[in-house]
Amino acid sequence: MFFKFISSILLVIFFATYSFACTDPQVTSKSFTTQDATIVAHIGFISEFTVKCSSGDVSSLYAELGDNSIVPVAIIEKNHYQVSWTEDSKTARKGQYRIKIFNEEGYAAIRKALRANEPTSTVPEFFSVIVNYPGAYNGPWLRSECLAMIISVLVSYYAISTKAKIVS
């Protein structure tokens, strides 16, 4: 009996904290992507962001990645979060990636949409962050050996053609 009483109090506290949901979130984000693809097989995408609410607290966050998978967002410290994933360096496209972030309610709505076989794109996101991938270095565009060979061929062509002109 006593245990039930305690658990009901805990539940009340639980819902009371959740009722103060974050309103008007101010998000500042920075992103990191691997720049050198000569030594890694996968490009790592990391987005770090801080959320400031005008009132209330942030509930647990979830992110929708490019392959439509929903992943939990890592909490680094209070109001500081990280979303990260990897893509094959051959298939990763350059440009901006928009990552939708959902709060607890949004996540529940997505789960509901998935159960009903409805598209999840209609579920409004809490906010979104941008990860910019400018591309990675895949080695020199023209190998220096090739360049040296082209120059030597040009020089020898000039020499041989001039010699041929003189002899004739």
Partner: protein
């Protein structure tokens, strides 16, 4: 050793506690694999570490703390992500990855050790806390940047030096020939006019 591919695809389960109660087997169960995604490990260049976390249990894992103390600050600089993070809730039968990018300050052999994960096995208030460990990528040789550069850089400066060194043997005879050619042409020119 250089070409040693360090992607270790072993997934090590570590639920150390023996599940005695039947209720406990219904709880969350996390498998964590720690992988190094590099082809080469090079001093001063990125090393990508990926933690793949799978919840194979029937309940969500609550308050998951993922900590990796393997990268100490005097040997590694963390350039992307955080080695210590937590997740409020990992739903059952789901998987995702957490990525950290570090740069080694030194070269030599380094033992990539396991990371640690602590979580509550369900969202009931009296749920047990479980501690687990990830797989170990093992030892990897970090190559000195000079050696890597010698092998893989574009060598533009080397070729430029080579071109400069070989140019006298080509340019001097060409200049001499051109000089004599132009003097003979000058001599010939007045004769042509008359």
């Amino acid at each position: 050793m250089l070409k040693k591919l360090l992607v270790v695809l072993t997934v090590l389960t570590v639920g150390l506690g023996v599940e005695e109660k039947s209720g406990e087997s219904q709880g969350a169960r996390l498998l964590v694999s720690k992988q190094i995604l590099n082809r080469y490990l090079v001093e001063g260049k990125d090393i990508e570490v990926r933690y793949s976390i799978h919840n194979i249990g029937k309940a969500p894992a609550i308050n998951v703390q993922l900590t990796d103390n393997g990268f100490n600050s005097d040997a590694f600089e963390i350039v992307g992500g955080h080695t210590s993070s937590s997740f409020a809730r990992i739903p059952p039968e789901s998987n995702f990855s957490h990525v950290v990018v570090v740069r080694p300050n030194k070269y030599g052999y380094f033992n990539f050790t396991r990371s640690e994960v602590v979580y509550r096995i369900s969202d009931t208030p009296n749920a047990k806390t479980r501690k687990a460990y990830s797989s170990e990528p093992g030892e990897g040789g970090i190559v000195a940047f000079r050696d890597f550069d010698k092998k893989f850089s574009a060598h533009y400066w080397d070729w430029l030096a080579f071109a400069l060194m070989t140019s006298p043997s080509l340019v001097i005879p060409l200049a001499l020939w051109y000089k004599s050619k132009s003097t003979y042409e000058k001599l010939n020119k007045p004769a042509k006019k008359h």
